[in-house]
């Protein structure tokens, strides 16, 4: 069952392609297959996308069999699927540093890929590595892990996104964690870096992480000047000039402070912020048993939201919190952190 070139396409590959197509939403299947560019357009047209997904994926597999797709091409299909669709995987950000005194280097992406592949394959047997460039000068690296006795498991993959000449890597791990040292070694050797460190920044949304780390959000510097800030005219519902908003001044102050803190544009999307408190319980020294504890009071506070930063931005205008908000909340994009540990000073 394993011979690929003699009989036809490998059954494992066929099954993998079938399962991948099943994962793709119907609306995206055509688009992804076109980007993949493995099946010619003329044959793609013969696929009836209106039938049930099982049948669609069978049709695709049949077409792939005709062209003898290998795991290499199937891996590319998998990468394209991950690049196009919003996958529910947590991305973690890592920062690499160069040795002191090292200048910005040329960073030939081809050399990077070669070097990365060589180093990783030298360290580990049975890893399947695929690369695909994306439009924004980034490379997506897909790694399927195996063992010396087992072929790579194509369903347990690690994805890495790396932009050339930047110190950041975005990694979405599968549950296999034991090959991390080898992965770092390959990455640092290929990229010519000295050290790698995990940042306290995690989210489901890769684009938001990129926006935070590359500082591509909220860059409206042109109105960032106090002298040119104008208050937006609030909706004038009340026609009678004798009626005024009682708290107009306070409202305007809150708007101004919110605007200064968060800016005018939509915030990057993250879904939680976590604060680990290791501080002493602060209370009236006479009251309560907790007051006499010498050890810090350990507590975990987690804020969750479908769009946390936008939610925080709307707290003060909605009257739920005072403006300005605590800097622990507002510093999230500036510090590029959403996991905090707060200790006693």
């Amino acid at each position: 069952m394993g011979h690929s070139s003699v009989i036809g396409m490998d059954e494992i590959v066929a099954e993998f392609i079938r399962r991948t197509i099943l994962k793709i939403p119907v609306a995206e299947i055509g688009k992804i297959l076109r980007i993949w560019n493995f099946i010619p357009e003329s044959q793609l047209k013969t696929i009836n996308l209106k039938q049930c997904k099982e049948n669609v994926s069978q049709d695709v597999v049949e077409l792939c069999k005709k062209k003898r797709a290998s795991m290499k091409e199937a891996a590319i299909l998998d990468i394209i699927y991950h690049q196009t669709c919003q996958i529910k995987k947590i991305w973690t950000v890592y920062k690499m540093t160069k040795a002191p005194g090292e200048e910005v280097d040329l960073s030939d992406m081809e050399e990077f890929k070669d070097s990365f592949k060589k180093v990783l394959q030298r360290a580990l047997k049975n890893v399947h590595i695929s690369f695909r460039d994306s439009e924004d000068t980034a490379v997506w690296i897909r790694i399927a892990w195996g063992t010396p006795y087992m072929k790579p498991n194509q369903y347990k993959t690690t994805y890495m996104v790396y932009h050339s000449q930047t110190p950041f890597v975005f990694i979405s791990h599968c549950r296999i964690k034991k090959y991390i040292p080898e992965l770092w070694q390959a990455l640092m050797t290929a990229g010519n870096y000295h050290k790698i460190q995990q940042m306290e920044l995690r989210s489901l949304y890769l684009d938001s992480l990129k926006a935070i780390v590359f500082k591509q959000y909220n860059q409206d510097f042109q109105t960032y000047c106090l002298t040119s800030l104008e208050e937006e005219n609030s909706e004038v519902e009340i026609v009678d000039p004798r009626i005024i908003h009682e708290n107009m001044k306070e409202k305007e102050r809150i708007q101004r402070v919110t605007r200064e803190t968060f800016g005018d544009y939509v915030q990057p999307r993250i879904e939680f912020a976590q604060y680990k408190l290791e501080t002493k319980f602060k209370t009236d020294p006479k009251n309560g048993i907790l007051a006499e504890r010498e050890e810090p009071f350990r507590c975990l506070v987690k804020f969750s939201s479908p769009h946390l930063l936008e939610a925080l931005k709307s707290l003060a205008p909605a009257g739920i919190a005072d403006a300005p908000l605590s800097s622990l909340l507002t510093c999230i994009p500036h510090k590029a952190m959403n996991y905090f540990t707060i200790r006693e000073k």
Partner: protein, 297 residues
């Protein structure tokens, strides 16, 4: 204080000070008052008034010149004895900073004053085309700090700041401007090649984030029959828009004809000396001429 006297609030507080002193002088001239005023003698006060009047006149002429559209040369803002009110000093400094930035506007640099410092805007351009703008927001305090910025992460901003921000601010601005203009120029050329001349390219242009390494394969002949050229342009200097190393090779097997070799040498020189899209524009002209010639029966 004579209440009927109108307060004249001018650009600086000097006139207000002057009025106060004059009023005080008038008050102490009246014999009935018990107040004696400050210990300074009358002559001292007179001298002070004269000095302040002289300064007021100077400032008035300067204001007039400014309003007439002339630029105040920075060197002409003479240092004067600091008044008790340090707000004037600060205002003078702000005016000086404003004039400084106005002068630099022509070089693509401009700045806006903010509550805590200044926000510098770098407008980049290449061959007369206005390209992206980048901002650096500085907080003025010791040490000078970058509050936030929109400089791409692959530009070595930290290195440039570490070298020059504290010691030589002008050089910091200049160096960063060079890097940003270099990057913008290279990116513009790469984008132009990718979008405008894709017909020549056998495979898509490959570049890194800083556009310091560009790699592409092109043919002169649209039908693809001629031997392709595989070019690799390296820009070692981050501030330049012309490559420092150009290598053109043939990736296939077999020997290349002499005509290909000749073309290769010519192309290499072209890439060294001209912007990328200009080179391809010349290729386009050659091709068009060739088509014209070949279509003649």
């Amino acid at each position: 204080m004579a209440s009927s006297q109108k307060h004249v609030f001018s650009l600086t507080g000097v006139l207000y000070q002057l009025e106060r002193l004059e009023a005080h002088d008038q008050r102490s001239a009246r014999p009935q008052d018990g107040h004696q005023g400050p210990q300074d003698s009358e002559t001292d006060l007179e001298a002070k008034i004269l000095k302040l009047r002289k300064l007021r006149d100077e400032l008035r002429t300067k204001v007039k010149l400014h309003e007439a559209g002339a630029r105040i040369p920075i060197a002409n803002l003479e240092p004067y004895e600091p008044l008790k009110n340090s707000e004037e000093n600060l205002k003078m400094k702000l005016e000086k900073a404003k004039a400084f930035f106005q002068a630099f506007h022509l070089t693509g640099l401009s700045g806006k004053l903010t509550t805590k410092g200044v926000c510098i805007c770098f407008n980049t351009a290449f061959e007369g085309n206005i390209l992206d703008s980048y901002y650096v927001d500085l907080i003025i305090k010791k040490p000078l700090q970058i509050h936030r910025h929109s400089v791409p992460v692959f530009i070595p901003l930290e290195q440039i700041a570490a070298k020059y921000l504290e010691t030589n601010f002008q050089h910091f601005v200049y160096s960063l401007s060079e890097h940003l203009n270099g990057y913008s120029g290279r990116k513009y050329q790469a984008d132009q090649l990718q979008c405008g001349f894709s017909a020549f390219l056998a495979r898509p242009l490959q570049r890194n984030s800083l556009c310091t390494l560009l790699s592409f394969t092109y043919t002169m002949d649209p039908s693809g029959e001629s031997f392709p050229f595989c070019a690799r342009l390296v820009y070692q200097d981050l501030t330049t828009t012309l490559p420092t190393d150009v290598t053109i090779t043939y990736q296939g097997t077999g020997a290349t004809p002499a005509s290909w070799e000749n073309q290769r040498a010519v192309h290499e020189t072209l890439f060294y000396k001209n912007a990328l899209h200009k080179v391809f524009e010349s290729f386009l002209r050659v091709r068009e001429n060739f088509d014209c010639v070949s279509s003649v029966p």
